[in-house]
Symmetry: C2
Subunit: 269 residues, 2 copies
C-alpha cells in the first residue's frame, strides 16, 4: 500500500510544467491540510523532469489561502537556469484562485570544503523518549511520531501570566515509517506546533503565512538516514502585531544538520 505521504505528493502531469493533484485527507489539519505536505508537493513539481543530480538548495512557500478539499493544479516555471544553479517558480491553484506559491533554488552541488558550525544538542535517544499520544487527534498529527525531549506543548485553560519560552526539542518521524528524502524533509520543517501556542499556553486562530527551508544534505546523506527519527530544534525571536517568527533546525541521528527553516506565522488578537 502506498505511504500516505506519497499519496499526498502524487501529481499527474497535465502539460509542460503543469500538474494536477488532490488535497491530502490523510494530512488534514483544522482548516485545510498540513502546510508541510503543501510545501512537499510544490517542491516535487519543481523537481519534476530535472536532470539527475539536481538537488534542492532553498524553498520558500507562501501560503495564500486555506486549501479546500479536492483537486488542485500546479504550474512550475523555470525563471533562470545557469550552469549549476536553477530557479523555479511554482503556483498552486484551486477554483477560487491561487492558494500557494513557492520559489525554489536547485543546484548541481559539488564537493567542497565543509564546516558545520552548529552542533546538535545532547539528547536521549528516541527510544528513551515517550511518543506523544495522537490517537483520535487531527489526521496530520497521526501521520507523525512526536517524541518531545523539551518543550512539549501543554494546553492550558488560561493564558500564562508570564509568557513562556518558545523552544522545543523533539525527535520526529513519519508514521508509518518512511525513508527520508527531500520531500519529507521539506514537510518535516513545518511539523513544529505554532510557537504562539507554546508561549501563551492557549490555542488562538493561527497559521503559517510563509516558510523558507534551506537544504544542507545530499540525497545520499538523506538516504543514509532512512526511516529513523530526525531531531528538530525550534525557537522564535519575537511575536508582535499579529505575527510571530520561527526558526528551526533538523538534524540527522548522527548530528549532521540536514535543513534549517524559518517562518512567519499569523495569529489573531
Amino acid at each position: 500500500m502506498e505511504h500516505p505521504f506519497d499519496t499526498a505528493c502524487a501529481l499527474e502531469r497535465a502539460g509542460d510544467g503543469r500538474f494536477s493533484g488532490n488535497a491530502p485527507e490523510a494530512y488534514w489539519n483544522m482548516a485545510g491540510p498540513f502546510g508541510g505536505t503543501t510545501a512537499a508537493v510544490l517542491l516535487r513539481a519543481a523537481l519534476f523532469e530535472q536532470p539527475d543530480g539536481v538537488e534542492p538548495v532553498a524553498l520558500t512557500v507562501n501560503y495564500c489561502a486555506a486549501l479546500a478539499r479536492g483537486a488542485f493544479t500546479i504550474d512550475a516555471r523555470a525563471t533562470r537556469s545557469g550552469k549549476s544553479v536553477r530557479h523555479v517558480d511554482v503556483q498552486m491553484q484551486q477554483d477560487r484562485g491561487i492558494v500557494a506559491t513557492a520559489s525554489v533554488v536547485l543546484a548541481l552541488r559539488r564537493d567542497t570544503w565543509s564546516h558545520q558550525v552548529a552542533t546538535m544538542p545532547e539528547v536521549p535517544s528516541p527510544d528513551a523518549v515517550a511518543p506523544m499520544p495522537t490517537d483520535g487527534r487531527l489526521p496530520w498529527l497521526q501521520r507523525y511520531e512526536f517524541r518531545f525531549v523539551r518543550g512539549a506543548w501543554q494546553p492550558q485553560a488560561q493564558t500564562y501570566a508570564t509568557l513562556h519560552s518558545a523552544h522545543s526539542t523533539l525527535w520526529v518521524a513519519d508514521r508509518p515509517p518512511r525513508a527520508l528524502d527531500y520531500l519529507s524533509l521539506a514537510a518535516l520543517c513545518d511539523v513544529f506546533f505554532v510557537r504562539a501556542f507554546h508561549v501563551r499556553g492557549t490555542l488562538v486562530p493561527a497559521g503559517t503565512v510563509t516558510m523558507t527551508v534551506h537544504f544542507h544534505a545530499s540525497a545520499a546523506e538523506l538516504a543514509a538516514q532512512g526511516p529513523l527519527p530526525v531531531l528538530g530544534t525550534v525557537d522564535a525571536h519575537t511575536f508582535t502585531r499579529n505575527f510571530g517568527d520561527q526558526i528551526a533546525q533538523i538534524w540527522s541521528s548522527r548530528g549532521r544538520l540536514l535543513a534549517t527553516t524559518t517562518q512567519m506565522t499569523w495569529f489573531k488578537e
Copy 2:
C-alpha cells in the same frame, strides 16, 4: 541632493504593476550592484500603490543572475489579497532574461500581545567603536558605515588552518545618514560580508543566491530609529557542497528586534 539609496530605489511606472529603473552605480559590488539595493527596489515595487497602513511582513529575494549596468524592468503582480494579508510576486528583467525574483507578504497589522524572546547582546555604543575604513574600496562599501564590535573581517594571505567562527556583531548605518524605513532595512539585511570569507580568511568567488527577510517593526518604530546606526548580529549554521547559510538579526538602538534574515550563499571550491 537625493540620497544615493533613494536613487537606487527610484522606479518609473510603465503600466499596471510594471516599472523601469536603473542598476545603481553608487552601490556597485564586484559583479553587479550590492544585493541589498536589489531587494529594496523589488520591495518598493510590491509596496507601490498599496493602501495606507499596509506594511511588509516577509520578503524572499532570489538572485538569478548578476545585474548588468543600465536599465531594468520590474513586474509586480498580486497573487492573492485577503482581508489583512496580501501576497505579491515580483520579477526583475534585463535584456538577457530574469535577473531576480521576489515574493512579498504584506499585511495590515494590528496591535496584539507581544513577546520579544530574543535579546540584543550588550555592546558598546556606536561612538565607542571605530568605523571600518572604506575609502577607495568598492562603491557599495562606501555607502555604509561599518563599526565592528566583534568578528571584523581580517583578510588573510592563506586560508586558516582551523576554520574560524562565522559570527560578527556590528553597528551599521547608511552613509550619508538616512532615516530608516522598510526599504533601507531590507537592504541592511544584506550588508553582512559573505560568511565563507570569515570562516576561511580568504576571498573566494561567492554570491547570495536567496535571501529571506522577516519584518518585526512598524513604520512608526522604524521612523523613531531615524538615521541612527542599527546593530547587526550574524552567524551561520553550516557550509557544505558550494553553499553556506547565514542568519542575522537587526536591532534598534534600544534593543528592539527590527528584522531577522536568512540566506543561502553560493561559493566556489
